[in-house]
């Protein structure tokens, strides 16, 4: 207890040294927590971007060609996949048929203002890919015979032709009759060009021409479920549905009993890259920390040289050399604990208050405060103060005692 009191007095006794050491430590602790938070956000952001572009891990993809597809066939296919993928594995499936260039979507009042990037979708595309809703809702539940059918646009398209509530006109370059669509949602799909998402069922219902060649991609994802299981689920679903699937890359006449799936997300390749990035951050932090420790040791040694007489007086009045050693170490530790606690508090306020407002990571949710890293920072800070104070403490304990009387 007396050591603690004395340590506190010692800190108070040398305000400039205490301040300089505190600043060094403060920066180091903030750096540790900052790196942890930034690393977490950066990782989440990279993962989110990949999930937006390629699907959540594990997402499997296969090319499909659905010849002469009817609404009934699609519904049968949907039911089978809902059962085999959705119910059985708590998973998601989505059919995405890219009709860019084949269908143009324009503003109802301005045919010259059109978008040629369009996908026909079935299933739960947002369950596969991370596509945050910016406004309105997604296409589900699809209701193919309601007119006008719904359409979802990305943010670029919304800026071009209008957002939720806007009426759009779609027409096919192959003579598809004009169909009106009502925008029900705006999503962030990661695309830098305008794109719209139409329900496949509605286009089949209102434009039979679109039955002709529906080739696209089938995506399947179930949390914690591997590729082989997904492949099996899809194979069974195809058989259950009775839908004729042709290999997209084949001649169109070849019947295949299933869809050959392959891994589509990059989850398995990202771990090493993210670890490397994180390692780089921590290396930078470690350097900061070493600089802080060296700085503290330097400040401490200079201080001991100035305090020779005071320390010798302490020794003269009965302090043991061990006690003087512990005094210097103790004051540094008290400083380390106080500074680390303050830095962690500041970091917490920054993470809670400022980080969520950053627009550079739109896909990332508000990050949790990295308590693990904060505790690590506290331990590291205390260790740093002990290491930084070791040389000064040894020097203090070796002060020549007879100096007191000179």
């Amino acid at each position: 207890m007396t050591l603690l009191i004395d340590s506190w007095r010692d800190l108070r006794a040398h305000p400039s040294r205490t301040l300089m050491s505190a600043i060094s430590l403060f920066i180091a602790v903030l750096a540790i927590v900052g790196v942890a938070v930034y690393g977490e956000i950066a990782r989440d952001s990279i993962v989110a971007r990949d999930e937006q572009a390629n699907g959540r891990a594990v997402t499997a993809q296969g090319f499909v060609h659905l010849s002469e597809l009817t609404v009934a066939q699609l519904e049968s296919f949907e039911r089978a996949l809902d059962h085999r993928v959705g119910s059985s594995h708590n998973g998601y499936w989505a059919l995405e048929i890219d009709v860019s260039g084949a269908i143009e979507v324009s503003a109802a009042n301005d045919p010259t203002n059109f978008i040629d990037g369009t996908a026909l979708t079935a299933g739960q595309l947002r369950g596969i890919r991370r596509m945050p809703l910016l406004a309105g809702q997604w296409l589900d539940p699809p209701n193919s015979d309601v007119y006008p059918p719904t359409i979802v646009v990305n943010s670029i398209a919304a800026a071009q032709v209008g957002g939720v509530g806007t009426n759009l006109i779609a027409k096919s370059s192959q003579g598809m009759q004009q169909i009106a669509f009502r925008v029900v949602g705006v999503v962030d799909d990661g695309n830098r060009v305008a794109r719209t998402y139409m329900p496949l069922a509605s286009t089949l219902h209102f434009d039979p021409v679109s039955r002709e060649g529906n080739h696209g991609d089938l995506y399947v994802h179930a949390p914690g479920v591997g590729l082989e299981t997904l492949q099996e689920a899809v194979s069974v679903a195809v058989v259950d549905s009775g839908v004729v699937i042709s290999d997209y890359s084949g001649n169109g006449n070849e019947r295949t009993p299933t869809v050959e799936l392959s891994r589509h997300d990059n989850g398995e390749h990202m771990g090493l890259g993210l670890d490397t990035v994180k390692l780089g951050f921590f290396a930078a932090t470690a350097i900061t920390l070493v600089v802080a420790i060296v700085g503290m040791a330097n400040i401490g040694l200079a201080s001991i040289r100035e305090r020779q007489r005071e320390l010798s007086v302490r020794l003269a009045v009965g302090f043991s050399r061990r006690r003087v050693f512990l005094l210097i170490l103790g004051s540094s530790s008290v400083l380390g604990a106080l500074v680390a606690t303050t830095a962690i508090l500041v970091a917490y306020l920054v993470v809670s208050g400022i980080v969520p407002g950053l627009s550079v990571f739109p896909l990332v949710n508000r990050p949790d405060f990295p308590w693990g890293s904060a505790i690590l920072a506290l331990i590291v800070s205390l260790s740093a103060t002990v290491f930084g104070a070791l040389a000064p403490a040894i020097a203090a304990a070796r002060v020549e005692i007879a100096t007191a009387l000179r």
Binding site: A13, E310, R314, A316, G318, S320, R321, I401, A402, L405
Partner: protein, 227 residues
Amino acid sequence: MTATLCATGLTHQIDGMASPILKDVNIVVQPGEFISIQGRSGSGKTTLLSILGLLLRPQTGALSIGDVATGELTDTERATARRSHLGFVFQNYSLIASHSAWENVSLPLMSSRSVPARKHREMAQSALAELGLGDRTDAAPAHLSGGEQQRVAIARALVTQPKLVLADEPTGALDVETGEAVLQMLVDRVRAAQTSLVLVTHDPEIARRADTRYLLHDGELLRDTSN
């Protein structure tokens, strides 16, 4: 009765000096005795006081504090002996500038396990009050006069109720009038507490007030019996 301090045959040579600064010094301090050691600058007074105060080990000779022979004591045991039996008054006060008066006085108590921390302030304030500084206990040294600072230093030397106080030119940094008052206060306090006092000075007037007087000359400690 056991002597408070008994030193025999103390010899000490400082590196680089041709002859020893102390040669076969013998001194006995009885309980409650006031001893002065007079000598010119550089005569070895401070070195002798450092040895008597267990701050420096003599190259030869024996030193006992009470019943304790100090020759074989470790550094830690010597620190304990200093804390338990000795008090120091330094020429330039040697107060810690950032500590208040009572915190300076409590310094010897800080390293003592026998006195609980909660009593430090009370004991320090009491020691200061006895020296007429009861209303200056929270003042920093910078806000005290030279005489007041030396009184704080005396309170620090006496707070542990030592057997022996070693004072090195305690009035050296004070004007004559203040020095006289401070010295009187020191002598009064040690006499009241039956504490022995060894005072080093170059001032014959101050030395003359001691019960026993010594002269340190050419490294030898001589009894001064002159009037």
